[in-house]
Symmetry: none
Subunit: 196 residues, 4 copies
């Protein structure tokens, strides 16, 4: 089991990083939020970058695990796709802070950002694999599965994030919105927008 303090620091760090982004986040604030001395953070993490990376790595790992778990409940690619959409939206709603960081800290030239995109790619590959399975099995008809996976990732992610900001502070409405958002993505995937 991970050292207790590490967990406390982790909790605090998500809050602070999500509040302000990587650059604006201050180690002082993280220390204060965690209720430990600044030196203690440095005892457990080599640097701010390392703390952040560890954090994001765990975060996106959780997303991937959660998605995998939901997918594995089904064997049919179409049902798996449904499950993935559900999982993605739920996870983003339950991890709003991580969701913000996921998009805002993914683009850039820093090594940490590159590492980060590698993990996102891993998640997109997960989607892509479902698509490829569906094509294989004849259930799905997709020309560019990789691009399609990334488009699906973008549609679902931005949709939730957009909603998070427009419903800022209205926790209740968010839950109701979850259905609307799932419906929207499903409609996009499984129906043509065209009437008939």
């Amino acid at each position: 089991m991970r050292h207790e303090k590490v967990d406390i620091i982790f909790q605090a760090a998500v809050q602070v990083f999500a509040e302000s982004g990587f650059d604006q986040a201050k180690m002082d604030d993280i220390a204060q939020a965690a209720g430990v001395a600044k030196g203690t953070i440095y005892y457990h993490f080599k640097s701010k970058e390392e703390l952040f990376s560890a954090l994001m790595d765990e975060g996106i790992g959780n997303l991937i695990d959660y998605a995998k778990r939901n997918i594995s409940l089904h064997s049919n690619p179409i049902e798996q796709l449904h499950a993935l959409v559900h999982a993605h939206i739920q996870f983003f709603i339950e991890n709003k802070k991580l969701a913000k960081l996921l998009l805002s800290e993914a683009f850039g030239t820093k090594e940490r950002q590159h590492q980060f995109r590698v993990r996102i790619l891993e998640y997109i590959r997960l989607i892509e694999n479902i698509l490829r399975d569906g094509i294989q099995s004849g259930d799905l008809s997709i020309v560019h599965p990789h691009e399609m996976a990334s488009a699906i990732f973008g549609a679902a992610s931005i949709l939730v994030l957009h909603k998070i900001y427009s419903l800022e502070g209205q926790e209740k409405e968010m839950e109701e919105s979850a259905n609307v958002m799932e419906e929207t993505v499903r409609h996009l995937l499984f129906n043509s927008l065209m009437n008939k």
Copy 2:
């Protein structure tokens, strides 16, 4: 006509901001890139924030204008949607740096980020209006046009951005990819992923 120096500073600022993001960008670098003294930037812009905001405002304004121009060439909502997808992807490809900033600097609690999301919302409304026109005319069948607009925005944006990073440094391949990406988004919009 805008003052010449302001334009030079603008050009330099896009480069530098896109290279490093708002926080990492240094006014020194912008000044150097622009070939002016640091003070000159401050003579024209009150602060780094203001420079950035002016920049992003113009950038997203260009995106909106470009999209509107493309849309206005058609009167049929479905053709307009096609045009919008085309415009969006082309604009992102031709303004890669802006595209990165568009997504990475939109989420946060800073006033500038809020202002920025307001402008993005304006663009999403543009999409939403096409969808509503299509519903009205009976051409489209969409339950939640606002959510759908934001999903479309997300799909197209992340798709291009993802491609920008995976093709980093391969300018030629990017152009070819444009078609693949447009096809992907069109497929998502106008076909079901399901085989028949």
Copy 3:
């Protein structure tokens, strides 16, 4: 006659310098207050220091002239002392901004501050001369006339300045206070504080 613009700049400069003190005063603000371009100030004055010095020199010159004029109306040293006290207090009340600068910018190691103290000394000598005349004529009994002159200068100056700040924004009360202040200084000079 002095160039018209110089006068305009002078007027503006007193306001701004008094508002913020030498260091905090900005040439930009003076230019704006004067309604001229910043370059124009530099056309007429070599530097901020020179503008300030010219200003203070004129200001203290006015004080000295005003005091001399009032003194010269009397030939008796005691009446002259009365006249001086009256003039001093009146001048400080009518030139509040100059009064503030007079005390706050007089102490320091800068050449301008030294020049400034030289002029104040000139004023103190004026008081001292009245005292010496009074000693000579047997009207006054003072052991250290120079020190006494400087003490009188301090008493009257600080008294008015203290009142200026305590009555900030109450123009009317200031006028009434003038009498109280004159009485106070006269009492200090011509009576013992001791009862009988």
Copy 4:
């Protein structure tokens, strides 16, 4: 007991502030004079303003304490007044740098300057109270005790300050001057300048 470094910084700050005044004083110089890194100052004080305010507050606090201690040795208002004059002049001579700052940084619109005047007022009230006690006991005859207190403060302060500048660099003469100055102020208070 205050942290050792804080004291060192305090010592250095008085020197530097008095040398150049608030605005011209550089944090770099204070740091160098204190033999600490610039960051260390900011670790202990939020800003230059706060450091200065803390400094002046302590300084004028010392003056008040010193005066009170001297006054409390006597019960007769007249003797107390003598003691106060003695204390004031001694304190100004022994704290020349503070004395300069006391007068030059008291006038202005900055919050710190306002705070500062509040403390000076506290000192003037101390004088005023002695005067009121004397009136009460019938020892003194004063019409406007508050104004008189402020005039006394001004007379003694400016007298010493004027002397400090005229004897710059002649430490020995200063001590001798102390008597002359005390005599002058006492004469002002307890005798009429008029001969008989």
